[in-house]
Amino acid sequence: MVAGTGTAFEVAASVRDPELPVLTLADLGVLRDVTEEDGRVSVTITPTYSGCPALDEMGADLRRSLLRAGFTSVDVRLSLSPAWTTDWITEDGRRKLREAGIAPPSRLGPRPAGPVPLNLTPPSRRVACPRCGSHRTSEVSRFGSTACKALRRCADCAEPFEHVKEI
């Protein structure tokens, strides 16, 4: 530990996601490992999607925050395995998403190892409206403002909202 505001883990865990800034990297579940020795920090993160453009920003933000907290060098590493799924988003993260008007993903649990089943109908999964709680919502678009979100609409409060889709 160096003169600073917290342990390397605490600093890294509090860095916010550039595209879902209500979440920290720890809430999002992309922070895999933080080690520190003599002020030198190594952070391992995992991408949400292969082409997630926020990944470089996460790395830059981690570097900036840790250097500002007094650590002398920061090495940000990328781990592809095990692959991130939305199940890695913490309970705290899900609550924060809901409070920000974004419906959190359902938990899917362990995936079967065999062939991936074809899904021929739009998902009928019940997604609660983050504003009024109604379950009468429907998907407007399978892809939203970022790769990780779909667009939905609530039939009761008539508001559109974003949904972090399950992968």
Binding site: P21, S50, E57, L120, R142
Partner: protein, 295 residues
């Protein structure tokens, strides 16, 4: 900070801070990069094949930007293209690293000529928005391509190459989502109006001749047991998926009449269709004119 607006922190941040990276870092920094005990040239060639498939289809899908039939679909196609670009970056980086000649993802994407690309023809043919197709044709291509890739990547999850296995495990979930998206459109258009049915059917007939190449096992695949997937073993799984979609859409399966090859060669051998040169010219022009250009 209050959370009235989920994007608030983007604008009141004290640093220069933007949601979209300006300087992409090296795609595989920090990933386990052990190279399995196989011929390095073969492994590099195999990674190049897979990387080129993703890169070239990503470029084709990006052509729809601002031209899709509805705004939501514009965003959808751009997102799918972005997923494929992410997969391409990892695979090309791996190809360059295993090759060991100092080529990175940019050198491989921007500085190779047509004969050095190893993607299948299905990824490169014009399927819209310009001549050569329309939205239905684009969905026909995406359905076939992603059904094939889902079958391939699900097997690659157990590849002896740790990078291929990791890229496949990650990419599989994305590809399955692309496949579902395309399949739902094929059903919607096939089972829609007379006009949408006619165009969906024409789209399938346009892409069907390029199926054969997807299931032709390449010598490089045969020389990499445990690392690569042989293409011939994918056929029955892909056929089952396509038949299920076509049946739900009320569309007949087009006849299997493979596209002609040149002296038996096709995309995996670096022999491409006429449209490919134009695609490369557009994709590579900026980097070749202004090497290292960034924005």
């Amino acid at each position: 900070m209050s959370f009235d607006n989920a994007y608030e922190s983007l604008i009141d941040h004290e640093d220069t801070h933007w949601a979209f990276g300006t300087g992409f870092s090296e795609a595989l920094a920090g990933v386990d990069r052990d190279v399995p005990d196989v011929d390095r040239a073969d492994l590099a060639a195999y990674c190049l094949m897979l990387g080129d498939d993703a890169l070239v289809l990503s470029q084709r899908l990006a052509e729809w930007c601002s031209r899709a039939p509805e705004l939501e679909e514009d965003v959808a196609l751009a997102n799918i293209a972005l997923d494929l670009l992410g997969q391409a970056r990892l695979l090309l980086t791996r190809a360059g690293e295993v090759e060991g000649a100092g080529r990175d993802e940019d050198a491989l994407a921007y500085l190779r000529d047509e004969r050095d690309f190893r993607n299948v023809h299905l990824a490169e043919i014009e399927c819209g928005p310009f001549a050569g197709g329309d939205f239905a044709t684009t969905m026909a291509r995406l359905l076939v391509f992603s059904s094939w890739k889902v079958a391939q990547f699900s097997r690659l999850r157990t590849s002896a190459d740790p990078v291929l296995a990791a890229v496949a495990a990650k990419g599989l979930k994305e590809l399955a989502y692309h496949r579902d998206h395309a399949a739902q459109w094929v059903v919607r258009l096939g089972d829609g109006t007379e006009e949408s049915h006619r165009r969906m059917r024409a789209g399938l007939e346009r892409v069907w001749p390029f199926l054969d190449e997807l299931f032709a096992t390449h010598p490089v695949e045969s020389r990499l047991p445990g690392v690569a997937v042989t293409s011939a073993e994918l056929r029955s799984e892909v056929d089952d998926v396509l038949d299920a979609v076509l049946s739900a859409a009320g569309l007949p399966r087009p006849a299997d009449v493979p596209a002609a090859r040149v002296n038996g060669l096709a995309g995996r051998d670096g022999v491409h269709t006429e449209a490919f040169g134009y695609l490369l010219a557009e994709m590579q022009h900026l980097h070749r004119s202004l090497p290292g250009a960034k924005w």
